[in-house]
Symmetry: C2
Subunit: 992 residues, 2 copies
């Protein structure tokens, strides 16, 4: 058996063979190997650096007295830094697994999107978590920034979670059972320390002392920054970070503390980074300066020997793209290739594109061998200016001819727009396809851009993940696309575990088949079909996978594998006692497993996972089952612990959770939600039962955010509130309301069913909108870290779902929410939020298929969306109603004629014509009949009587009489008609 | 080339192959691997534990900005703990060197006595530093105590100094030049951190902040002790230790601080240790309990087949004994074997003994095959009590017979002391030699005791170093000596590097030759001859080794090797610019090298070192030369740095050096010495020149203790003061006085030559005597950590060397010194010191060969030893002088007769007899003629006239007259004679 210490030795040996130094762990407590100066400082600046080291990482918050099977206050990281990115870090990494004795071809090893950021260190990077049969064993990151500085060159960071890997390899279920050394278990070696340090961090650390330590450390760090000594300064930043973590684990960090501490740490880390860079420069970079990769030079294109049209295949090979990025890039590829081809004179057939996690492929049928030749005419001066009276070429002609490189005699004369000019005509020979395509396709690569982009060892490119190879073939010819350091060739890469992972492709026409026979399913739809039918086959006949409900997950899976290999796994039925939401959340979110149900939709103790490529099915299944077992055991552990605490206790923990720096803790926010819900309910006149439910639920709102299970899986918020509240003996309605406050959780999710739930949900969302708008601002662009858009959509959905809320104006609710914020929410901000809500409503209604004109017509009611809904449904009925159309037309016509600012008042005595008098009388009658706040149908019924008098009026009466008094009266009459429907609709928006 | 990281890996691999766990370094700063809980806590209690780990060890005080080639604030230790002692740890260790690629047979690897103690941790152990070609590469310790607790089982601690080993293996002269990893030097990897952390520790660390940290840490440690959590408590002990070290490096630790901090740390470490032991017991010792080795059982002895006397050889094999211990053990062996043999009835020839570092050998010629048979008579009751009147056996006889296991009829009657008793006679058959010897020799082993003893994996034995094997042969027969877990056999061990390191010895007679042909030179005199003649041969004809001057060193060397192999090495002539004392101190003390001089005694750039056994001479020479080069470079570095500082600056540093807790800093002590010297000088009437010298020298006295070179080599104190003072422009006399204050440095060393030097030296010693006597007490037994005995001897020597000091009473000087101490020195203590001095003087004079009676006679002058000297020299002359002898006899005779307490007064008128009147008159004449304070010769000349009258008196007069008045007068007259020489000599002591 591979012991843990042996595993560490093998990894260190492996990486030192790859040219890594090995250093010792940091001699002060760190939360991760990243903090060791061998990473944090060395990734800065231009010096090359390769290092591998073990780092016991201390996370006081993870203290569990050694009781939790998977969680330790000190776990062992093995950290590797490769700087610059060597270009094959993934392959090197797989080599390290092999060094551990892991047969990577038999196992399912996958790179699953996972980005990393440490705001306190001003550091971030993009990368993956690496899965071994579903188990996250490694964090793999391309570092982009540290200490607020852009990293150039970029470093690759590989962090192995050693205990996890060993638990998997040794097939044990508790970290204490890992064989650490021959005959000695992890628990025997470190169990007592794990227990005692847990005691220290959770129970016994002196809060006041650690607070003083924190301040001493930070002050010393600052002094060392001032002294220009980044190394000791960094040490003290680490010490302060640890002291902070101790305080945090002791529950002694207030929101204000946290904000202040993070700001201080970020500032110090930035100072340290800048100092280090400056010092290394002053020392003239003792380790040298790593040179960027040289630009590629294209290979020459041989003469064409054949003029037949051929297929073009263009493959852009990447490291594993996130699913959404791969999809977006595929769409981009279609547009970009089409556009670029259009800019050539090559004729071609259909452009098809495909994408997998590792490649983007464009295939173009029948691309002509050559562009047709053409004659290009270059216009020179007018003929009259080109020759003097004697017919002698002028200086202007001479200049033109010189510029064109021809003799003045060689120019011709031709009419341009009917005016004779001198012109030069030249033959423009069409280019050969390979040459033309090489030029055309290069910008396709440089134009690739993801939602979030990174740099790697390429001197120029930037994309969601590194681009590692290009294949471009036109027939059998290589199209020498050259982009930065890459040149296209005829080699593609198959699965990394293939016997021959890199192969040459003879011709473009053979490309698709070649990769297909090697297992790569290029087309996403094909992969999706394989996933779906494979899964259904596996579970048939006892179970089924709900393909519709799991649609999003299946879409994701489709882009996680190149060769889908569905596997059926099982778990212990005992776990079915956990709430279903827990089980499915673990399966879907953490593991990307498809839940399996019986024909009645009841969850079965099964799952389908989709491995990539041909694996040892039994081994991969066993691995995934072990992972799920551990995950469920973890969840069960938390679930039991949470249930032991009553809701009030959990609620009290919210004081430890920051919402935002300026908006206080989650406890503060929950307090506001409770107060706001009460305020919103006050004018509504709730039933005594609803009122009682709201009263009881409000003080507990969001209490489950203090539960361990929800801390682990935030998407379970609400679900667990309901469960725990019921378990604690709360009435069903209260539990429901506490669940419903989280609804709707996403677009398409059901809104709260009950009124107390709806009020809490609305209050939640209005609080968020008011607070964030006043502090961080409303989202613009794609970034929306606090999901403000989702909150807005939620507020609208809740309102629309509850007629009882019809009278409630969101604008008024926002004003209430604003008064509860710990910061001022100025009027313009409130107006911005109202406008933001209106635009969301417009968008929602549009997506629901309502005609745009009607939507716009009802938007004045955006603050009461259920009213807007009602109006829209009336509009749908009235759209073909002559009477309504007439009224609308009348109102619109009146509005068009009456100048802005004209009051709806007039002297009836000034009216003279019978038509106008008749209209006046009709208006008086209608106005008297219209009640206050009529609905549209009622309004139409009454106002319909105006249609005929209005028509007659416009036929008989010339409004713009010369007599000013008469004109004023007529305009006033029309203004009255214009205003009849004011407040009901924005009438001018209606297209009739 | 073996890189440093590869070396670390190889060692870890090697030790894990030996069953060691490997763990990570401590994640807080530690000064040594010993502090890691994997050592400090794990050596406690009964659980077995084997561990190997790397530990970057931080010693702020060693900060040198990375400039010193051999000294770093962070150096890399590799720490191994073997618990329990496996019995072959030395061999395992040599295996680890082989794993590093070191050919231990070609190199000179030696175990040189070096013990270890950390009072602050309540920890100590005995062991060695391991030398590789003269370079100390490893500390090897048998841990005896930690946290104040006795360790059972004992652990072996092996600590490699990695940078040193690598510098040697890679043959580089600066740590920065070590190849750390392929293509990366140590300096490149760690140089900046070394510089910056040096800056922090020496210049920039905030003193107030670190003081606060120290207190916070200690308080948190105490809280964790109180909470019963040894692991976090230990962590905080380490943190407090580091904070203390930082303060120390910043020069911010006062004497009081240091004492308090050490006391606190010792207390906390003890608490932690006790808690740990208790916790492990409560956890039922998760790693098990290591069983002690089973006692050995002797093998049966075969029947003797031959009755010839044979040789006995008894070898006790040990690990390397310190030279003094080996010598002492050898002497013990001679006594013990002789005694034990005497207690048998075996006849035998000469007992010879020999000792090397690794073995004690007793060889006894002609040991008889058997003890002679004998008849033993057991005495019973008197015959009269044994039989009743009827001759029937009494109960008494029956009881005796039963006890002897014979029938009552079997007893005989015999006279004992002339009284008839019943007796039992039985034949006592003599034992066969092997059996008798086995019993006789066992106590020889158990009785072995060194000056300082240790335990190892033996369940019972205790000695200066582990006893590993016993060989006992009588002829070809094994003598089955059984001691604890050891049984004697016929195997001996040769050099560890021998092809066959363990060999069987056929017969006792062949033993000596067998080990001799394998290179072991058992006899110390033989080894000494080999060292001396070998060295002289090597340096002939240009140089010579001063065998007399280097006698002590040669004696030591004799006991550092079993097979002396002298080698000649050289060093760079440039180093001859360093003071000779520096060079010779480094060679002798640090390296045990013999300095080489030219025929005029001038130092040559050569040295002789003595390797053990057959080595690759060139390689070992090169290694030793490199070590010496580094040592000299180090010394040159310090020398230059010291010379840049002026004496006053160095003197100021003494405030940082503690003398003792209660006696203050070295600065305090130097102040006292200066004051005392002035006080001693006052009554002497110094010449103006001497007075000026003393005035100038006194404030600088001992300033060189603040110099780096002296910190490194304390034996250079004085030498460097002279050098630095001259360099700083002080007058030659002042420099001399500053040198001479340290004289004499040891027995036989020259005393100060100048009077100012003598006064300072005397003041130094009297200060030490007064202060220490009043605080820690005068030394008893062999322990004398402050060298109080040497100080006393020094004081005597200085006084004796300077007639100018003759008038100065040491007792008076001590009284002066006492008034200057920061503590009270009570009168009884002063008297004890005076007595202590007198006993030293008696001892010195005895060693100088003066007759004991004369020494005793002059001892009343011990407080003015030069006066005692003068008296002794007079006595030597007068010893055969009739007149003197007569006077002495008269005085003694008078003393014998006169009762104690009789006053020297009488009424002359009461005297009647002519003889007594004549005597009275003679006494009166003599008394009037004797001046005050006569010398002995003058006294004799005058008092000689009494000899005849005294003789006559005793012939003619019966002193004890019946008339009381007459008797009183006669006794008074004699008492007057008795007292004539009082104050000159203790006359009764003289043997005439």
């Amino acid at each position: 058996m591979l012991t843990m210490q042996e595993a560490l030795q093998r990894l260190i040996e492996y990486w030192t063979r790859q040219g890594c130094l090995t250093v010792q762990p940091m001699n002060t407590e760190v939360g991760a190997g990243t903090l060791n100066p061998a990473t944090f400082l060395r990734v800065l600046g231009p010096e090359p650096w390769r290092v591998a080291y073990v780092e016991p990482s201390v996370r006081p918050d993870d203290s569990r007295y050694g009781e939790n099977p998977n969680r330790l206050q000190t776990h062992t990281q093995l950290q590797v830094i490769l700087k610059p990115d060597p270009g094959d870090a993934q392959e090197l990494y797989l080599g390290s697994l092999a060094a551990l004795g892991i047969d990577v071809a038999a196992h399912d090893v996958r790179f699953v999107e996972d980005n990393w950021a440490s705001p306190a260190l001003g550091a971030w990077g993009l990368g993956w978590e690496v899965w071994l049969d579903g188990l996250e064993i490694t964090q793999f990151t391309y570092f982009q920034q540290a200490g607020g500085l852009d990293l150039d060159p970029v470093s690759v960071e590989i962090t192995y979670g050693i205990e996890r890997i060993l638990m998997a390899l040794q097939e044990v279920r508790h970290f204490k059972d890992i064989t650490y050394a021959p005959g000695i278990s992890y628990g025997e070696a470190f169990g007592q320390a794990e227990y005692e340090m847990s005691r220290y961090y959770l129970d016994d650390a002196d809060v006041a002392a650690n607070r003083r330590l924190l301040d001493e450390y930070a002050a010393e760090a600052q002094r060392m920054v001032d002294a220009g000594l980044p190394v000791p300064a960094h040490t003290y930043v680490l010490k302060s970070s640890h002291a902070f973590n101790v305080l945090d684990a002791r529950g002694a960090v207030s929101t204000a503390d946290r904000a202040a501490e993070f700001a201080r740490m970020r500032r110090l880390a930035g100072d340290v980074a800048r100092l280090w860079v400056a010092r290394r420069a002053a020392l003239d970079h003792p380790l040298g300066v790593s040179a960027p990769r040289a630009p590629a030079s294209p290979s020459p294109v041989p003469e064409l020997t054949d003029n037949r049209a051929r297929t073009l295949v263009f493959e852009i090979g990447t490291e594993e793209m996130p699913p959404a990025e791969a999809r977006a890039a595929c769409a981009y590829l279609r547009r970009a290739v089409a556009e670029r081809l259009a800019a050539t004179r090559l004729t071609h057939g259909e452009v098809r594109v495909a994408a997998t996690p590792r490649r983007l492929i464009a295939t173009v049928a029948d691309v002509a061998a050559r562009e047709p030749d053409q004659v290009v005419t270059v216009r020179g001066p007018r003929a009259s200016a080109a020759y003097d009276a004697a017919g002698t070429p002028t200086a202007a002609l001479a200049g033109f001819a010189r510029a064109q490189g021809v003799a003045t005699e060689a120019v011709e004369t031709a009419e341009v727009n009917g005016v004779p000019h001198v012109v030069v005509r030249r033959d423009d020979a069409g280019g050969a396809a390979p040459t033309v395509l090489a030029t055309a396709l290069a910008p396709v690569v440089t134009g690739l851009r993801g939602a979030r982009n990174m740099r790697w060892n390429d001197p120029q490119l930037s994309f969601t993940r590194p681009i590692r190879w290009l294949l471009a073939l036109w027939g059998e010819q290589v199209v020498p696309v050259t982009v930065s350091a890459l040149t296209a060739g005829r080699h593609t890469r198959l699965l990394r575990t293939a016997a021959e992972p890199v192969v040459a492709v003879p011709t473009a026409e053979e490309f698709a088949e070649l990769i297909a026979v090697n297992g790569i399913v290029a087309d996403a739809e094909d992969r999706r079909d394989l996933v779906v039918t494979g899964a259904q086959d596996l579970v048939y006949p006892d179970g089924r996978v709900d393909v519709t409900a799991e649609g999003n997950l299946i879409d994701q899976i489709t882009y996680l594998v190149e060769q889908p290999t569905p596997l059926l796994g099982a778990f212990d039925e005992a776990h079915l006692e956990l709430p279903e939401a827990v089980l499915t959340t673990v399966m879907r979110k953490h593991q990307r497993y498809l839940p399996v149900r019986d024909p009645d939709g009841v969850l079965l103790p099964r799952f389908v996972t989709v491995a990539n490529g041909p694996v040892d099915v039994d081994r991969v299944r066993a691995g995934n089952e072990a992972v799920l077992r551990a995950r469920f055991a973890d969840a069960a552990f938390f679930y039991a612990a949470d249930r032991r605490a009553d809701p009030a206790t959990l609620r009290a923990r919210l004081a430890r959770l920051t919402f935002t720096d300026r908006l206080g803790s989650m406890a503060d926010r929950a307090d506001r939600i409770a107060a706001l819900a009460a305020a919103l309910a006050a004018p509504l006149g709730l039933s005594p039962a609803d009122a009682a439910t709201l009263r009881r639920a409000a003080p507990l709102v969001k209490f489950d955010l203090g539960a361990q299970l929800v801390t682990e899986m935030t998407s379970l918020a609400g679900e667990m509130a309901r469960d725990y509240a019921r378990h604690a003996g709360e009435p069903r309605d209260v539990a429901t309301a506490l669940y419903e406050v989280e609804l709707p959780r996403h677009a398409g999710d059901a809104p709260p069913r009950t009124l107390p739930g709806a009020l809490l949900s609305l209050a939640d969302r209005l609080d968020l909108l008011a607070g964030l708008a006043a502090t961080v601002g409303l989202p613009t662009g794609s970034s929306d870290p606090f999901a403000v858009r989702r909150a807005a959509l939620g507020a609208l959905a809740v309102h629309r779902a509850h007629p009882a809320l019809g009278a409630l104006s969101l604008t008024v609710g926002l004003a209430e929410a604003a008064t509860l914020q710990p910061v001022e929410v100025p009027d313009p901000v409130r107006r911005d939020v109202a406008d933001f809500l209106a635009r969301r409503l417009e968008q929602v209604l549009t997506e629901e298929g309502h005609p745009v004109d009607r939507i716009r017509a009802v938007l004045p009611h955006a603050d009461r969306p259920s009213r807007a809904d009602h109006l829209l449904s009336e509009l749908a009925t009235l759209a073909d109603d002559e009477s309504f159309r007439g009224v609308a037309a009348a109102i619109q016509r009146a509005r068009r004629i009456v100048p802005d600012g004209t009051a709806a008042a007039y002297d009836p005595g000034a009216l003279t014509e019978p038509a106008e008098v008749a209209l006046h009388e009709a208006v008086v009658a209608v106005r008297s009949e219209l009640g206050p706040d009529p609905d549209l149908t009622g309004f139409t019924r009454v106002a319909g009587r105006l249609v005929a008098p209005v028509d007659t009026f416009f036929t008989d009466v010339f409004v713009m009489a010369e007599d000013p008094a008469l004109r004023a009266a007529r305009l006033g009459l029309l203004a009255t008609i214009r205003d009849l429907g004011a407040g009901l609709l924005d009438w001018p928006q209606l297209r009739l």
